[in-house]
Structure formats: structure tokens, C-alpha cells
């Protein structure tokens, strides 16, 4: 299916990350935005609102973030592509309904413009402190898909991908931006509508009394119907059977919840997206995501011009985590460098996947740190020194 031209503002633009986010959503066919306002996410709704009347989209400001996501889940069941946008404090409140969205297998997109926490922290400054929350924030077992854009253009592209994956797998998908990218203004090229691929929702077409809302297709994903089309069905956050009625036993728990995990884990190869630069001959690989990737690529360029073989692995999707690829690389390279705008979150995943095969160096920096690549460069130098030390030890041993 191709995009609805009404929502696609084809052309070359100069947009901020937040503006590009709204444009991406409209291009992807998003026609409902439910939110509670918070900095630094406001420009997303501002742009969405400005364009909504002409596109035929609806916007609602709820009384808090808990109900904002509830509104989005409801709108999605009426057949509208729906999203919400928030920042860290709001994301914390949304965790209850994120779990409900997973359990009800409701396609929707959550945009998180990360600012500095915990609590209210620094509401106008950037951080990447919500990355683990985006994976594990809601209770119970589930899998989720999370994107991390590093430029307004990527913001536009990834929001479209997020909507497509949410429809394909019937899950909430998150896009993790930050306060810096929110305001970063850059060229964004919006292609013509016929060049934008849209994943259509899978609908049940049978008789109205034959619909089972959680009867799974081969790939574990059940087809949906629109509320108001005459189908009568039940959905609940309790463990349920194909009919959507609660069944309180372990067999049903396995029957209901295991596929929620399998429908993502069995398809990680289709979902995971990474961008590799200069990996082939690299001795050191910088693993980065989001805004930090800009600094990582610059540091890589400088190190390369100084003759150090550095590569970059940029995660477009943070979750599911690219375990296999990192394990492969760990066997080849000497060290990974993981810069993050937090005190260490994704670095633990890198350590887990490299299983002691490569050194893992973590760099913690705030927004100011991203503006200065010196700490990444000195980490690169440190890995070189570690290699020297290793070489010396090997030679000493030979001598003995």
C-alpha cells in the first residue's frame, strides 16, 4: 500500500526533529494524536495541530499521560493510526497502558523526546536515560520495538517505519528522540506519496458473529476489526483466550502470552536495522544510537585520519537488540566503545553480547559531552594503549 497523499508534504524542507516527527506521522497515515503537553515535545503537537484540519486528522489533549495513551489505544481500535508524544516523566505514567497495549495487541506509536531525569530533572536538556525504560518499563513479559533517530530526516523516516511495524506485528512501537534532536533543524526531503510504503492493517473479513479477536494467523499476529463495524467482541488486560475472555490458568497464560514474545523474537531479522560504517577492517567499533551517533561518526572520521582503524555501528532500532551482530563483531574486533547520554544503560547489553571476547569501554556524557568528541577520542586512544600493553605481555611471555 502507498501513502495517502493528503498527509504527505512532498518537497525539500528545513525542519526541526519535532516538526519532522509530526510530518512523518502524517505521511504514515496517522490521523489521531492523543497527548498531555510536556516540554520538550510540544513542537510535535504544534505542527500536527497546524496541519490536522487539512489532512483530516484529530487531536485530543487528555487530563494526563495515563489517559492520553488510553485514548490512543481506543482510537487505534476504531481503525485510525494513532500516536502519542511525551517526554520522560510522561513516559513513566504511560507504562501502565503500554502493558495494556501489548496485551490487547493494539498497534500504536509512542514518541519519547527524552530529557534529563529522574523526576522532572532538566526539562529543556537532552539525555538518553529512558532507553532501558522503553524496553522493560511495563510489568510482565513482552517484546517491544524501539527506534532511535539521529537527525530530523531519520526522525521522519523512522516514524513511518514505526507505524508500519506496529501494524505488521500489532504492537506499540516507540521512537526515542531527545531534547537536542527535538530542536535540531536540518534538511528533510519528503518523497512523493507513491514512494512511501505503508503496511496496511490486517482486517478480518468474515461474518460478524464469526470474529475471534485473538485467533492467531501463522505468524502469531491476529487480524483486527474496526469498532463500529458490527462485530461484537471482548478485550481485556487479563490473560485471555481467542475470544478475548479471561481464562485464569497457566495453560492459557502460555497460550496467550508466549506468542506475544515469539511474534517479535522469531522475526528479529526482519525488524533489526543497524548502519555500519568502516567495519570491515576495524579494530575498534563505536556502538551508538540517537544523537550520540553524530559525535561517534565525527570521532570515527578523526581517528581514521590519524590512522587508527575505527568503525561505527549505529543502531537504528535499539530494541530488539542486535545480539547476533555484536557477538560476531566481538570475535573480530579488539574493543567496543559505547557513548551514551546517561550513566550506562545500553552498554550492559553490549557487554552481555560480547561475552568477554572484546573490551567494552563506556563513555558517559551529558548534552555538553556530545558537543565535544574529545572523550570518545581519548577512549579510542585508550584502546590503542591497551593493545600495546597486551602486545608487551605476549612478547614478555615469549621471552620467558
Amino acid at each position: 500500500m502507498k501513502a495517502d497523499p493528503k498527509g504527505v508534504l512532498t518537497g525539500s524542507h528545513n525542519l526541526s526533529g519535532n516538526q519532522a516527527c509530526a510530518e512523518g506521522a502524517l505521511a504514515a497515515g496517522c490521523r489521531f494524536l492523543g497527548l498531555y503537553p510536556i516540554m520538550p515535545a510540544l513542537e510535535v503537537s504544534e505542527r500536527f495541530l497546524e496541519r490536522a484540519p487539512r489532512v483530516g486528522a484529530t487531536f485530543i489533549q487528555m487530563e494526563d499521560e495515563i489517559s492520553a495513551l488510553a485514548a490512543v489505544l481506543g482510537a487505534s481500535w476504531t481503525g485510525k493510526r494513532s500516536m502519542t508524544v511525551t517526554s520522560g516523566p510522561g513516559l513513566s505514567l504511560m507504562m501502565e497502558h503500554l502493558g495494556l497495549g501489548v496485551m490487547l495487541e493494539t498497534p500504536c506509536v509512542i514518541i519519547d523526546i527524552q530529557s534529563v531525569g529522574p523526576g522532572l530533572g532538566l526539562p529543556t536538556r537532552a539525555a538518553q536515560g529512558d532507553i532501558m525504560q522503553s524496553r522493560w518499563g511495563s510489568h510482565g513479559d513482552y517484546e517491544i520495538v524501539v527506534f532511535a533517530p539521529s537527525s530530523p530526516q531519520e526522525m521522519f523516516d523512522y516514524v513511518i517505519k514505526a507505524f508500519n511495524l506496529s501494524e505488521r506485528y500489532r504492537i506499540p512501537v516507540a521512537v526515542m528522540s531527545d531534547a537536542y534532536l527535538a530542536r535540531l533543524q536540518e534538511n528533510v526531503v519528503i518523497p512523493p506519496a507513491e514512494e512511501i510504503d505503508i503496511e496496511p492493517r490486517r482486517y478480518f473479513k468474515g461474518e460478524t458473529d464469526k470474529y475471534l479477536p485473538f485467533k492467531r494467523d501463522k505468524d502469531f499476529v491476529p487480524p483486527m476489526v474496526k469498532i463500529g463495524d458490527g462485530y461484537r467482541f471482548h478485550v481485556t488486560g487479563l490473560t485471555h483466550d481467542d475470544r478475548g475472555y479471561p481464562i485464569m490458568n497457566e495453560e492459557c497464560q502460555e497460550y496467550n502470552v508466549h506468542p506475544l514474545v515469539k511474534k517479535i523474537r522469531d522475526y528479529t531479522d526482519e525488524i533489526i536495522e543497524v548502519q555500519e560504517t568502516g567495519i570491515d577492517d576495524a579494530e575498534v567499533v563505536i556502538i551508538s544510537y540517537g544523537t550520540t551517533a553524530r559525535a561517534a561518526l565525527k570521532a570515527m572520521e578523526q581517528a581514521r585520519s590519524a590512522g587508527i582503524k575505527v568503525g561505527s555501528l549505529k543502531l537504528a532500532t535499539v530494541w530488539p537488540f542486535p545480539e547476533k551482530r555484536i557477538f560476531e563483531l566481538a570475535k573480530k574486533v579488539k574493543a567496543f566503545i559505547v557513548p551514551e547520554m546517561n550513566f550506562g544503560q545500553l552498554v550492559f547489553e553490549v557487554e552481555r553480547c560480547s561475552i568477554g571476547k572484546a573490551n567494552v569501554l563506556f563513555i558517559s556524557h551529558g548534552e555538553k559531552g556530545v558537543e565535544n568528541i574529545d572523550d570518545i577520542l581519548s577512549a579510542i586512544r585508550q584502546t590503542q594503549q591497551m593493545n600495546e600493553v597486551k602486545k608487551c605481555i605476549i612478547e614478555l611471555k615469549k621471552g620467558v
Binding site: 528545513n14 537536542y180 530542536r183 536540518e186 556530545v370 565535544n372
Partner: protein, 186 residues
């Protein structure tokens, strides 16, 4: 590639200046422009700056490493960012608001009473556009034509005329200054 810093205080249109030049470069001059900004929680009066990287190819890194141009509209902004200006850099400042030290390296300085001009034109708020006109004349970052297209896109409709007047005023002042510098006798 040019790395540019606009510095001043909130309310002067510092971020808007970055947006206008970024737009002019990226949409009308077919270059790549990346603008980032930083400000405090206050709406007006707080320290405020925007960084702009303009390049013929895609901008890899959106931050300033060594600034080529500093446009200063407040003393605090000048004091904070003067050091990041490269030895061959260019300093543009509002002469009524900034008192520069003697410059390091071969820095060239260009002064304009932008806020005073803006007041004479009718509204202090267009001082940033006066300085943008001056900027367009002095530097080769963006073309005059591109700026003339980018400004109406970026200001409220009722203020377009005043802004264009402010831009022309700054631009002509810049051209005359350059002429005088080339030919000091006249």
C-alpha cells in the same frame, strides 16, 4: 564549510536568525544547513545561542568545533563564545551592545549599530534581521537572493515589509563598509 555561532539573549531573535540562514542555505542555495540551539527555561532575558553549520555536502557533525563566524548581540554572548572563534575567524557584533577585546589571531571584526538602526526603522525587534543583512553582505555563507526568499517564510505576514526593510538596511550598510575598507581615501 562554515561554522557559525549566533549569541545574545532570549527575545532578540537569536534562534530565529539561525533558522533563517539555515533555511536560506538549505532550501534556496541548495547547500546543507544544520542548526542547533540552546536556551534556558526563561522566555526572555536568559543567555541564548544557536549554532549553524553550512556545508556543500551533508553535515556529519552538527556542533561547532572551531567557529568561523561569531555574531554577537550581547556582551555575555560575546564573552562566552569569543574563545571558540578560530584565528582566521570573523566577528560581527552590535556596536552598542558589545565591547570587544583586542582580537586574537587574524580575526576580522565588523561592527554595526543594529539595534539603533532597528529602532530608527520603527521596531527594536528587527535588530536581528538588520544584522542578518549585514552578515549577508560581509560573508559569503548565503546569497542575497536566498536570504530575500527565506525571510518572508520565517516571519509573521504583517511584519514582512518591516523585516525586508531591516534586511536591506543592514545589507547596504555592509556593502558601504566593505567599499570604504577597500578604498579608505574616498
Amino acid at each position: 564549510m562554515a561554522e557559525i555561532r549566533f549569541a545574545g539573549y532570549g527575545g532578540q531573535g537569536i534562534i530565529r536568525s539561525g533558522i533563517i540562514v539555515g533555511k536560506a542555505a538549505s532550501i534556496y542555495d541548495n547547500k546543507h544547513g544544520t542548526m542547533s540551539q540552546s536556551f534556558g527555561p526563561e522566555a526572555r532575558g536568559g543567555a541564548c545561542s544557536s549554532q549553524l553549520v553550512v556545508s556543500d555536502s551533508k553535515v556529519l557533525y552538527p556542533y561547532i568545533t572551531v567557529a568561523d563566524i561569531l555574531v554577537a548581540m550581547s556582551q555575555a554572548g560575546y564573552d562566552k563564545f569569543e574563545a571558540e572563534l578560530g584565528d582566521d575567524g570573523l566577528l560581527i557584533f552590535d556596536e552598542d551592545l558589545v565591547e570587544p577585546k583586542s582580537p586574537h589571531g587574524n580575526i576580522k571584526t565588523f561592527a554595526i549599530p543594529a539595534t539603533r538602526f532597528a529602532e530608527q526603522l520603527g521596531k527594536k525587534i528587527v535588530a536581528n534581521v538588520v544584522i542578518l543583512g549585514f552578515f549577508t553582505a560581509i560573508t559569503d555563507v548565503v546569497s542575497y537572493e536566498a536570504m530575500k526568499k527565506a525571510i518572508p517564510d520565517s516571519v509573521p505576514e504583517k511584519a514582512i515589509d518591516l523585516n525586508m526593510k531591516a534586511f536591506e538596511h543592514g545589507y547596504n550598510f555592509g556593502l558601504e563598509l566593505l567599499k570604504k575598507q577597500k578604498d579608505p581615501q574616498k
